[in-house]
């Protein structure tokens, strides 16, 4: 072997080119990263990051927030100027103690017990959407179920009137575009006058969501109700625990995350059930519970592909020295196919017994706030499909979002057969 080949560490295969994701997650490249000893350096724009691909190290990074910070730098791949970082700072981009304060405030709405109280609402909505899809026969699953269900549920939790749902769905869809190079909105869309670099996802749709959230908060101060926005504004009044910017960013996050992520899980889940009818049969037959199948759908879908952390101190990971201030990116998309954790990881198997997937992140304080809500929605969809004896059939190929950050699907034509 050539001398400089033994000393130079090879770069990671490129997994950040958005166009790659038009054909799905580049699993072969992640497998290559997992097989490499230590960590691989991934060049990105003017710099790069340490790519964390194995389950064990995604877990370690996620659970060591004092070393791998969410507040230093940004949690997306690119860097932000200091003022932009401050303007955007929310639940995702904070460390303790700020994170703990905001998280506790909003978490009360998402506890297992609280989420259970939404079961009837979720079931009624699901039944309505499924019956419509059956009547139509063949439709775009994203439009007919995967998009409307989660957004209507999260908006109900937040206390947003039903009539505003379509507007907020449109705004949330624009945000996803902001994570790729394909902005279609003009910078001054929705009356935006803020520099895009100061807005989440660099999107003028963020401005519109902020404005909507603030107007809603003002209304809830006058007419409190049993919803999350009321909880947030009342806490704000009680002890000034949430700043105006924190509220705006939190509202924005809840709309986006509640809309986009569960939609992705429901779409990939439906696609997998259509492609693997024998797996759905196991659920229909009662051999596998909907709870168990839901966990496999979550692993399979991995709605959020990665998060970035930045080292607060010099450290070592997988035998690789990392200096303070370096970028470390944890790839949930890769951890969820780690062959040392999941037997036959590329097989969709609804009956997996042990399924420690990272669809909700790798653990640690930033563990998905909406995990129980997402689970409830997927479980209810499966239950209602099972109760009707429905089967799904693929009609066309999915149109995917070209993004290295979300595993989004724009459309997926399916036939719903009763």
């Amino acid at each position: 072997m050539h001398a400089d080949q033994t000393t130079a560490r090879p770069d990671a295969p490129n997994v950040t080119d958005d166009a790659l994701y038009l054909d799905g997650i580049p699993h072969d490249r992640f497998a290559e990263m997992r097989a490499a000893p230590g960590l691989l350096w991934h060049p990105y724009r003017d710099g790069g990051f340490w790519a964390v691909a194995r389950h064990a190290e995604v877990r370690q990074v996620s659970r060591s927030p004092e070393v791998f910070s969410s507040a230093i730098g940004h949690t997306n791949l690119w860097d932000l100027e200091a003022d932009a970082l401050e303007a955007r700072r929310g639940l995702i981009d904070t460390d303790a103690p700020d994170h703990t304060r905001i998280r506790r405030l909003v978490a009360s709405g998402f506890t297992p017990k609280n989420i259970k109280t939404w079961g009837t609402t979720v079931r009624e909505l699901t039944a309505e959407l499924l019956d419509e899809a059956v009547a139509v026969g063949t439709s775009d699953w994203v439009d007919s179920l995967a998009a409307p269900l989660p957004i209507r549920v999260i908006l109900a939790l937040l206390g947003v009137p039903v009539d505003d749902a379509d507007h907020l769905v449109a705004l949330s869809n624009h945000l996803v575009e902001g994570t790729s190079e394909q902005q279609t909105l003009a910078p001054d869309a929705f009356g935006n006058t803020t520099e895009l670099r100061l807005l989440p996802f660099n999107s003028p749709a963020s401005h519109a969501l902020f404005e909507y959230g603030e107007a809603l908060a003002a209304r809830k101060r006058l007419e409190p109700a049993d919803d999350i926005v009321t909880t947030l504004v009342q806490a704000e009044a009680d002890g000034e625990r949430l700043s105006g910017a924190e509220f705006r960013n939190l509202f924005h996050l809840l709309v986006f995350a509640g809309n986009e992520t569960t939609r992705t899980a429901l779409t990939h889940g439906a696609m997998a059930l259509a492609d693997h009818p024998e797996q759905w049969q196991r659920v229909l037959d009662g051999e596998v519970s909907v709870e168990q199948a839901t966990e496999e759908i979550l692993r399979w879908a991995t709605p959020v592909l990665h998060m970035r952390r930045t080292t607060a101190v010099d450290t070592e990971l997988a035998g690789t020295r990392i200096g303070a201030g370096e970028k470390v990116v944890v790839w949930y998309a890769s951890a969820n196919r780690d062959e040392t954790v999941f037997e036959d990881p590329y097989r969709f198997d609804v009956g997996r017994d042990d399924n420690p997937h990272f669809a909700f992140g790798g653990g640690g304080p930033h563990f998905c706030l909406g995990a129980f809500l997402a689970r409830l929605e997927i479980q209810v969809v499966l239950e209602e499909m099972r109760a009707r004896g429905l089967r799904l059939r693929r009609v066309g190929d999915p149109v995917r979002v070209p993004s290295n950050f979300v595993h989004g699907v724009l459309s997926l034509d399916l036939e719903v057969v009763s």
């Binding site: 877990r59 640690g364 563990f367």
Partner: protein, 77 residues
């Protein structure tokens, strides 16, 4: 109750109410809706293997075995 049962505790300063404990061992753990942290029901005793599973899955590393060697690190190997 068996000899292999252990008692667990929750560090409420660390807990983020992720709710994984309630999902895995609903008889022992509950997310308190007022304090928004996990609380242990009764004497908090459960089989060691269940306790280890809950400790492993707890996202924040807030759960430990009472009288265990200080506390069991949740971040694994």
């Amino acid at each position: 109750m068996s000899a292999d049962d252990v008692a667990v505790r929750v560090d409420t300063e660390v807990c983020i109410a992720g709710g994984q404990c309630e999902l895995l061992a609903p008889d022992i753990f509950e997310i308190d809706d007022d304090e928004v942290v996990a609380v242990v029901r009764g004497d908090g005793r459960l089989p060691r293997n269940v306790a280890l599973e809950v400790i492993d899955r707890c996202p924040s590393g807030a759960i430990s075995i009472v009288g265990g060697s200080d506390h069991i690190p949740a971040s694994g190997p």
